[in-house]
């Protein structure tokens, strides 16, 4: 029990956008991890309830948009006892500073976690320049 910390409860963050959404319903900001190495930028996002066909990833002009819809729960014949969380769309945008190779973008969705790999364009990868002694 002592080998790992306990997970803390966290509220889902409702997204705040200056523009009014045209679709009704709640919009949440997914939690993400973003890391970078020499080859690529990798993004992990928690989007529970989003199925692969309802996920949209868009990259244009260095702006990456992730949006995912959650299917409405079928609650026919059921009555609420406790509601501690709500469901809705997930939406988040990022501005990328690197040039991304659009053709090699790879996205995987498993157990409600999106793993998006954004490979950098070849020329953006640092190249070691050998200096010859003259």
């Amino acid at each position: 029990m002592t080998d790992s910390k306990e997970i803390k409860v966290k509220e889902k963050q409702e997204a705040t956008s200056p523009a009014q959404p045209t679709l009704e319903g709640l919009v949440f900001t997914p939690e993400v991890d973003i890391f970078e190495d020499e080859k690529a930028i990798t993004l992990l996002a928690d989007i529970p309830g989003v199925s692969p066909e309802m996920l949209n990833i868009d990259l244009r002009d260095n702006v990456l948009t992730i949006s995912g819809d959650v299917a409405r729960m079928d609650l026919s014949g059921e009555e609420w006892l406790t509601q501690e969380f709500e469901t809705g769309r997930y939406y988040r945008q990022f501005t990328l500073s690197e040039v991304i190779d659009q053709n090699r973008i790879d996205a995987k969705l498993s157990q409600g976690v999106l793993r998006l790999s954004l490979p950098k364009v070849e020329k953006a990868t640092p190249r070691k320049i050998a200096i010859k002694a003259g």
Binding site: M1, S4, K5, E6, I7, K8, V9, K10, E11, E31, V32, D33, I34, F35, E36, D37, E38, T42, L44, D46, I47, P48, G49, V50, S51, M73, L75, G77, E78, E79, W80, L81, T82, Q83, E84, F85, E86, L109, Q111, G112, V113
Partner: protein, 151 residues
Amino acid sequence: MIYRRFVGFPGLENRNPFSEIENMRRQVERLYQGFLSPYARPAAGVFPLVNLTESKEHYALRAELPGVRSEDLDIQATANTLTLAGERKIPEEKQSAKYHRRERESGRFSRVITLPGEINPDKVEASLVNGVLTVVVPKAEASKPRQITVR
């Protein structure tokens, strides 16, 4: 109490007329807190947050557990409680990875949910789809509603 004073004459006994207004402001504020954001403070404050519904036949419990594999999840049922325990693991990335953001949390969790009625612990069914856990708990015969015919 506030109503009585409102309806009656504004208190002559009130030395500070603003204290009443202050009091009212606080009450309204409290009302708003509960009214506008009923989910602001989770009932239990324990991960994971759960939604609980019931039908005539069963209780249904839903929780968002992204990235938790079914083998890392332990669900136990007794006569009227359900225990959700497990661990959310976030695999280590390569050493060379430089983090820009790190918002996702990993760790252990354990939560006991007491259901309002008796359940049939042998027939509990759980599924984990797209990171959403759904546990369907059949009610025990004794706690099902019964139609009573009037003769």
